[in-house]
């Protein structure tokens, strides 16, 4: 399943958590720290899924986005 989420490496999470904490710019209490950690882990998990997917399925050379147009048959 493409959405199966490999657990991100703990040191990777800690490194990104430090970046996120610095971005907040104020001291966080334990509950806030837990919320921030949860979101960092979620995003690292998402990135890991993308990496695994690209490795398995190949790349797309163009990162621009356009709606793929259909024809309205109504």
């Amino acid at each position: 399943m493409a959405e199966r989420r490999p657990a991100p490496a703990p040191e990777l999470v800690e490194r990104h958590l430090a970046v996120a904490r610095a971005a907040v710019g104020r001291a966080l209490d334990a509950a806030e720290n837990a919320l921030l950690r949860e979101n960092v882990e979620r995003l690292r998990g998402a990135v890991a899924i993308l990496d695994a997917f690209l490795l398995e399925n190949g790349d797309e050379p163009d990162a621009s986005f356009h709606v793929v147009e259909g024809v309205d048959r109504t």
């Binding site: 399943m1 493409a2 959405e3 989420r5 990104h16 970046v19 996120a20 904490r21 971005a23 907040v24 710019g25 104020r26 966080l28 509950a31 806030e32 919320l35 921030l36 949860e38 979101n39 960092v40 979620r42 995003l43 690292r44 998990g45 998402a46 990135v47 899924i49 993308l50 990496d51 997917f53 690209l54 399925n57 790349d59 797309e60 050379p61 163009d62 990162a63 621009s64 986005f65 356009h66 709606v67 793929v68 147009e69 259909g70 024809v71 309205d72 048959r73 109504t74």
Partner: protein, 472 residues
């Protein structure tokens, strides 16, 4: 006025227009009725941020004068509506649902508000929403400066996310229609929760000039109405190109169309669509399929296995981080209502440019695969949500059925349109809903399908209990 309150509660846009043109009621009377209902029931449902009384009465008086002079602007002439409070309105606060922006004023109207004014519609209220359209990572209904949006069918349940006031106000029949916005689920979800019809247009169908940006490549504006037909009428008024929003496509949208199909449709039914859903949701979906078999051939299909959730998490996170860069750096996020919204968005700062572009590259594959899938059908059909509206006092993360269906992320990433219509009542007397998703620019077909479904069912005519009254 001869048009009594109950008639105004149940009338479609077309019926209201007929009442106006036959002199049974005036635009000023309808506007006053709506303003009164919003001021009492609307406030009790936490659906209202600001009543736009002076502007409404001015626009309504103009509508009456024009009709008297033989100048008819079309089906929305003299019809009141509410706008999600992320749409700029000149001189009227635009709060984005968030305490730090409660005094924000713009000097201009959003393109959608301009177009509705040109169509003769009457703006009666700025409607409540989840703070910053939910982009900060909220995990509970109480994430808005106006409090949790309450559901007109059961006020112990939530109304939405994030167009909560738009769903609730239309569901409680306080306004005939409202404008909502969707990045991922924010039109279809409150429409499903509140038992109304909500249309998410194709990305680029409607100008976003003057709308709060959360995620530039995914944000859409669309109508929330009582019926699918009403959604078509409103979309026709707001769609079209706009030089101020370069993503707004140069495509015409006409409604009603010159010819409208009523049968012979071909539908893709997502296999396992009811799996993991509440029993009533699954049962009502099966019941809806039985109705749809009268007008369509159905084929079971499987949604391709792609990382929809991971891509949307990175795209929305990265773009929200950029859209709210200054706000987050200012520290004002600490004043947001939901505690999680005060800290979770700072995790977005950890998404690198390379990771964002990686997600966009996978997104392109998703758009192509979704188009190939949708090209085989007039629409994909699925339950809009796996559960009825959650309790108002419970975090979403505790909900067993809460997970978004993968189609929601897939279709929003691909910019595809969808319409949600009610299809029954489940737990705690709350509405369940059915969703049609189609190829880009296929709104006419989706509306024809939803209208054909509604011609065979009466869920969209059901009325919630008498609206609650505001505490004084």
């Amino acid at each position: 006025m001869s048009g009594d309150g109950q008639a105004l509660r149940i009338a479609s846009l077309t019926a209201l227009g007929r009442m106006l043109r036959q002199g049974e009621v005036t635009a000023v009377e309808i506007a006053r009725h709506s303003l009164d209902a919003l001021d009492t029931a609307g406030r009790a449902l936490n659906a209202v941020v600001t009543l736009t009384t002076a502007r409404a009465l001015r626009e309504a008086a103009r509508a009456d004068a024009e009709l008297a002079a033989g100048h008819d602007r079309g089906p929305l002439h003299g019809i009141p509506y509410g706008a999600k409070d992320l749409l700029a309105t000149a001189g009227i606060p635009t709060t984005w649902g968030a305490v730090p922006f409660r005094d924000q004023l713009f000097s201009f109207d959003a393109a959608v508000v301009e177009r509705l004014e040109q169509a003769g519609a009457v703006l009666v209220a700025k409607l409540a929403m989840v703070e910053l359209a939910g982009g900060m990572g909220y995990d509970q209904p109480n994430a808005s400066l106006t409090g949790p949006g309450l559901n007109p069918w059961n006020t112990n349940a939530w109304s939405g996310g994030s167009s909560s006031g738009s769903g609730s106000a239309v569901g409680a029949r306080l306004v005939p229609f409202a404008i909502g916005s969707e990045t991922q689920g924010s039109i279809t979800s409150p429409s499903a929760n509140c038992g109304v019809s909500g249309l998410r247009p194709t990305y680029g169908r409607v100008s976003r000039h003057g709308a709060m940006a959360l995620c530039w490549t995914m944000d859409k504006l669309g109508p929330i109405c009582r019926t699918a037909e009403d959604c078509g009428l409103v979309l026709a008024a707001i769609a079209g190109p706009d030089a101020r929003d370069p993503t707004a496509a140069n495509r015409r949208f006409l409604y009603p169309p010159t010819t409208q199909r009523a049968g012979g449709f071909r539908l893709g039914v997502l296999s396992g669509a009811g799996d993991g859903a509440q029993p009533e949701v699954a049962a009502h979906f099966e019941g809806s399929l039985a109705v749809l078999r009268e007008i369509a051939t159905l084929e079971e299909i499987t949604l391709p296995d792609l990382p929809y959730g991971a891509v949307s998490a990175i795209v929305i996170g990265a773009e929200a981080s950029s859209a709210f860069d200054g706000f987050l750096a200012s520290g004002h996020a600490a004043a947001l209502t939901a505690p999680e919204d005060r800290v979770k968005p700072y995790a977005y700062a950890t998404i690198s440019a390379a990771e964002y572009l990686r997600a966009m590259r996978v997104r392109r594959q998703i758009a192509r695969v979704m188009d190939e899938l949708c090209a085989r059908f007039d629409a994909l059909v699925s339950p809009t949500l796996p559960e009825v509206a959650p309790p108002v006092d419970e975090p979403f993360s505790r909900r067993r059925h809460r997970r978004w269906p993968p189609l929601t992320a897939a279709a929003n990433l691909a910019g595809l349109p969808a319409i949600s219509v009610p299809n029954g009542f489940g737990e705690r007397g709350l509405p369940t809903a059915l969703q049609f998703t189609g190829r880009a620019w296929s709104e006419s077909r989706l509306l024809a399908l939803a209208s054909a479904y509604q011609a065979r069912t009466d869920w969209h005519h059901r009325l919630p209990p008498d609206p609650p009254q505001a505490q004084t």
